[in-house]
């Protein structure tokens, strides 16, 4: 009998016992799912987006179901950096699981300030910088739409933190490469992709947009093939590791991301219909490695045969 394959990775300094985390905004602050999912089994917990001050998010409805997924416009509701550190971080710190905090702001300064504050406390393993949220009027996607603003933002945040910095890129670009390169050159330690794809649903009876925010972001199985393409493209453009997400509903899609070039993956929308997805993904990756006689998950990353 052979030894169990090694699932551990070092993602830009974040030591993950396996390459599987959860997608920001789909797992709350960890606590909400803790009675269903043993957080210590995860490679990391990535929490909902945090800005400097508490933020109320958008009016309801904030979501609508569509074929192959959902469109959401939560609008980054959150407790702010102080509220997060006070109300949510202690619980996560106790579990010992690496915590990646998703951050945003409406100015470069705000992003940098949030990063700095989170760098001063214990228990934050890395920062995922959300420059691609389609659901807030200012901030988010407005920074991610041009490689130059991406570079400027990443550089500004870089100056205020030593934590691993993981810009989260938008999928709706002609080519992801200049964005990935700009982020890497500006000091990013890893990349996250993809965020939701901008989308809209109109109720044909009332002729009104279903979402109060009018537009939202598409997530779920529908976007998986789009995400694989972007991860593959990005992996060819940069050497820093990639956390891939978009439509994972089981181990198969996660493995596809790893093969395409991702070092880690995140389970998002699937958790809503099956909270056990993230555990199934971890077990499934291990079983795959055994079946394919690989000793480490790192062999899988970028192993696509062209």
């Amino acid at each position: 009998m052979s030894a169990r394959p090694d699932l551990a990775i070092d993602l830009a300094g974040i030591r993950m016992k396996n390459p599987v985390t959860v997608a920001s905004g789909t797992f709350g602050y960890g606590k909400e799912y803790a009675h269903l999912v043993d957080l210590r089994a995860l490679g990391a917990v990535t929490v909902k987006g945090i800005r400097l001050q508490p933020w109320e998010g958008n009016a309801l409805p904030r979501h609508v179901e569509v074929p192959g997924g959902m469109v959401n416009a939560i609008g980054l509701q959150g407790p702010g950096v102080v509220g997060f550190i006070r109300d949510y971080l202690p619980f996560l710190r106790e579990t010992g699981v690496p915590v990646i905090v998703n951050i945003w702001g409406t100015s470069q300064d705000e992003y940098a300030e949030v990063a700095a504050r989170l760098s001063d406390v214990e228990g934050v393993a890395g920062l995922e910088v959300n420059i691609s949220c389609p659901n807030v009027k200012e901030g988010g996607a407005s920074f991610g739409a041009d490689p130059r603003t991406v570079a400027a933002l990443v550089a500004a945040v870089r100056q205020r933190t030593r934590l691993p910095l993981i810009p989260k890129l938008a999928p709706n670009v002609p080519s992801i490469k200049p964005f990935a390169q700009a982020a890497a050159d500006a000091g990013a330690d890893a990349l996250s992709l993809i965020n939701t794809i901008p989308a809209m649903v109109i109720d044909i009876e009332t002729r009104r947009p279903v979402l109060a925010n009018q537009v939202g972001g598409l997530s779920g199985p529908a976007i998986h093939p789009v995400a694989v393409k972007l991860v593959w493209d990005a992996a060819q453009a940069v050497r820093i590791p990639i956390i891939a997400m978009g439509g994972i509903s089981g181990p198969e899609q996660a493995i596809e991301f790893l093969i395409a070039g991702a070092a880690a993956v995140a389970v998002g929308t699937a958790t809503f219909s099956d909270p056990g997805t993230v555990l199934r993904v971890i077990a499934g990756i291990e079983a795959y490695l055994v079946r394919h006689r690989m000793t480490s998950v790192r062999e899988l990353t970028g192993s696509v045969r062209i």
Partner: protein, 262 residues
């Protein structure tokens, strides 16, 4: 809280669009409190489909009873379930109604399928009182026997007058309030937003406590996604944004910051 695979025991039609689904779900049934709900994934939908929340209508031993109205894709799938079919079920979720009425007369106000958690409440609450059930037509008036069999007084109202009084359920409510000006009451309501708001106003006007179970479309059901929020005002005046699935679905009527109708 449990996430299990539940098995259908039986299913029956109650009236036009309403059915009662009986499922084997021991762990959930035994833990269930009135006002709590379950979040279910119908296997017939593609794996990507979101879950759907339903109040617990009854819990007896290993069996859990749901009462639902067919309104869309998910509930249509529920219709097709037969004895022996299985599906994923999460619960019990949410906080439930308080069971201690503190000597006040409990007044239960139900609209449509909102009667489900109130019927469960009536079976677990030691006190007896009044139940007001409203609906569009007679077919929307359900569970009358559940209450009368347990000694509750029931009054009904329908918009088309086909059953009980002709009008909103607030009509018999206002009549009762007018007839019992000094009676200390406590309100429990579940139904459409506008109805809950009206009950909250009545409770406030007679200085009585009230509990409303809010119905907001949900995604995660556990407080993680923030799809189901409702603005609340604490007694100290501070407002906060509650997650109906986790912080509710039952809230003190006086603390809800009611939204204007669109």
């Amino acid at each position: 809280m449990h996430d299990i695979v539940a098995k259908v025991r039986s299913q029956e039609t109650l009236s036009a669009d309403y059915r009662c689904l009986v499922i084997e779900a021991p762990a959930i049934a035994r833990a269930a409190q009135p006002g709590q709900f379950v979040h279910l994934r119908v296997s017939g939908l593609e794996t990507s489909a979101l879950r759907r929340p339903f109040s617990i209508y009854r819990a007896e031993g290993d069996l859990l009873f749901l009462l639902y109205k067919t309104v869309g894709r998910g509930t249509e799938q529920l219709n097709r379930l037969r004895a022996g079919d299985t599906f994923a079920l999460m619960g019990p979720l949410g906080n439930g109604f308080p069971l201690d009425t503190g000597g006040r007369t409990p007044i239960l106000v139900a609209g449509g399928y909102g009667v489900a958690p109130l019927a469960f409440l009536a079976s677990r609450i030691p006190a007896r009182g009044l139940v007001l059930i409203g609906g569009r037509t007679a077919a929307d008036i359900l569970c009358e026997d559940d209450f009368t069999a347990r000694g509750w007084e029931v009054r009904t109202a329908t918009l088309d007058g086909s059953r009980g009084e002709n009008g909103l359920v607030t009509l018999p409510l206002d009549n009762w309030l007018a007839a019992h000006p000094a009676s200390p009451a406590v309100f429990f309501a579940c139904g459409p937003y506008g109805m809950l708001r009206a009950v909250a106003e009545r409770a406030a006007s007679v200085l009585a406590p009230g509990w409303v179970s809010l119905d907001k479309h949900m995604v995660c059901g556990v407080g993680a996604c923030l799809a189901c929020v409702q603005r609340m005002r604490r007694p100290d005046g501070a407002t906060w944004i509650a997650r109906v699935c986790r912080d509710g679905p039952v809230f003190p009527a006086a603390e809800v910051v009611w939204e204007e109708p669109k």
